[in-house]
């Protein structure tokens, strides 16, 4: 069976996104919380644009009008050891 992956980090397919939209999750933040898209190591760089495109197709709402989820730092994974080694500079 063909399965188009939208979110590689959390293994979410286009069908999963469409099903959630049909269930009433029509906001990227809601979809994120329902499906965990954008919560993996890529932090949404792969999936969010794709999800916005599916949302546009399903809801008719223009992509420019679809709010993006909040960007959460750090933008790339950083080890706790690296963060802990930083000395506080006054």
């Amino acid at each position: 069976m063909k399965r188009s992956i939208v979110c590689r980090c959390e293994d979410i397919s286009e069908e999963d996104v469409i099903r959630a939209i049909d269930e009433g999750y029509t906001d990227i933040e809601e979809l994120r919380k329902k499906l965990r898209i954008g919560m993996g190591p890529c932090q949404g760089r792969v999936c969010i644009q794709l999800v916005a495109r599916i949302l546009e197709r399903k809801t008719g709402k223009k992509i420019a009008k679809i709010p993006l989820p909040t960007v959460r730092p750090p933008l790339v994974p950083v080890s706790l050891g690296t963060l802990a080694s930083e000395k506080h500079e006054k």
Binding site: E29, K33, M39, P77, S79, L80, A84
Partner: protein, 382 residues
């Protein structure tokens, strides 16, 4: 949108949605009005923990009864809320903390809770990755029936079940005013229209203060920005939530495998700022790797902020206010609204449906701040 309802709940977080479900199940005509989307406030930012080990009787008994509801909630709502009982391990660092821990445990046991005081050598039996010396612990308390659940799934499951029982849940709609006549609630004004009702529940998290101010009710709520982080997914390492009142840290491993935890930043002050800080990342990573050195090899993926709506005694404000008939508070959860939500919904449903006021509700009414001495909750983290 309905133009009339028995009850209008302001706020689509865990408490608003669980109450909507309980009331709708009793055939009340309920409308939930949410400014953004469901779980967009404190619920969606929270640490997901469910703890029964509190210092005040009210919080402990609300939490104990809530756990009984959580235990069968996936079945009741027909959706998996991922409730898992791995216990809470509370580090005890010195003699003073041990005295308080003994007092807490005695009170909790009197309420029927199974909870133990552990010697330091038993700590790694529960959470093997901990370094007892590094965390400077002289012991710990442990309750095996504490745990955590998925806040998104729990809220969405409550909302779906509420809708099935006829509740209407409106998102992206802002409350702009409350109608009253002769100190009685008459309706809720929103940017999408007005809903006539005689009962309004204020479950709007940090915005509850502004909602109450619309009818000149003053709530003693202070918003505190709290920061929290998640790591990459790991194989299962431990099941318990680890917390320390002294260091303020809490962390646990979630079902998917990520470690989620938080700590207050040293220069924390009240306010509405939402920006995450580097000071948090530093303080959290240093404390976390002191507690569990092996985690220094683990990647942090993201960190975010959420608010505690803190009351002067760190206990919620529940029930009808004396000043306005039909105006019910469900706020001031001070960082533990998720874990007591099942029982809060039950108590407020009893109040709205039957006018029943229990001792807990009486003790948590807004009027307790009227100048009498109040008992402060001491067991607070994050």
């Amino acid at each position: 949108m309905k133009s009339k309802a028995d009850v209008v709940i302001i706020g689509g977080g865990i408490n608003g949605c669980s109450l909507a479900y309980r009331l709708a199940k009793k055939d009340f005509d309920v409308v939930v009005v949410e400014k953004k989307y469901l779980t967009s406030g404190a619920t969606g930012a929270c640490g997901a923990g469910v703890r029964q080990q509190w210092s005040t009787r009210e919080n402990a008994s609300l939490a104990i009864q809530s756990v009984k509801i959580f235990e069968q909630l996936s079945k009741e709502l027909g959706q998996d809320i991922e409730f898992r009982q791995g216990g809470y391990l509370i580090a005890v660092h010195d003699k003073n903390e041990m005295r308080q821990a003994e007092k807490n445990v005695a009170m909790q046991r009197s309420l029927g809770l199974k909870v133990d005081i552990l010697p330091p050598e038993k700590i790694t039996d529960i959470v093997p990755i901990l370094d007892v010396k590094g965390m400077r612990a002289i012991g710990a308390t442990f309750c095996p029936t504490d745990g955590h659940a998925n806040p998104f799934k729990t809220t969405f499951a409550y909302a779906d079940a509420a809708r099935k029982h006829g509740a209407e849940i409106i998102t992206h709609t802002q409350v702009t005013g409350l109608r009253t006549i002769k100190k009685e609630i008459q309706g809720v004004v929103t940017d999408q229209g007005t809903i006539r009702t005689n009962t309004v529940v204020n479950a709007a998290g940090i915005d509850s203060k502004a909602i109450a101010a619309m009818v000149n009710v003053k709530l003693p709520l202070t918003p505190f920005r709290k920061e929290i982080m998640a790591t990459e997914r790991l194989e299962p390492l431990f099941e318990a939530m680890v917390i320390s009142f002294k260091d303020g840290i809490y962390f646990s491993q979630q079902k998917e495998g990520q470690i989620v935890g938080g700590i207050p930043i040293p220069e924390e002050r009240g306010g509405y700022k939402t920006m995450p800080t580097f000071a948090f990342l530093q303080h959290m990573s240093q404390t976390l790797t002191r507690y569990a050195p092996v985690l220094k090899h683990v990647n942090l993926l993201r960190h975010w902020t959420g608010f505690y709506d803190v009351t002067p005694d760190a206990r919620p404000i529940l029930g009808e206010v004396k000043e306005i008939k039909g105006f019910i508070q469900c706020n001031g959860f001070s960082g533990h609204g998720f874990m007591i939500s099942p029982m809060v919904a039950q108590l407020l449903t009893n109040l709205i449906a039957e006018g029943r006021i229990t001792e807990v509700l009486e003790n948590l009414n807004l009027d307790r701040f009227g100048g009498n001495a109040i008992e402060k909750e001491l067991s607070v983290v994050g």
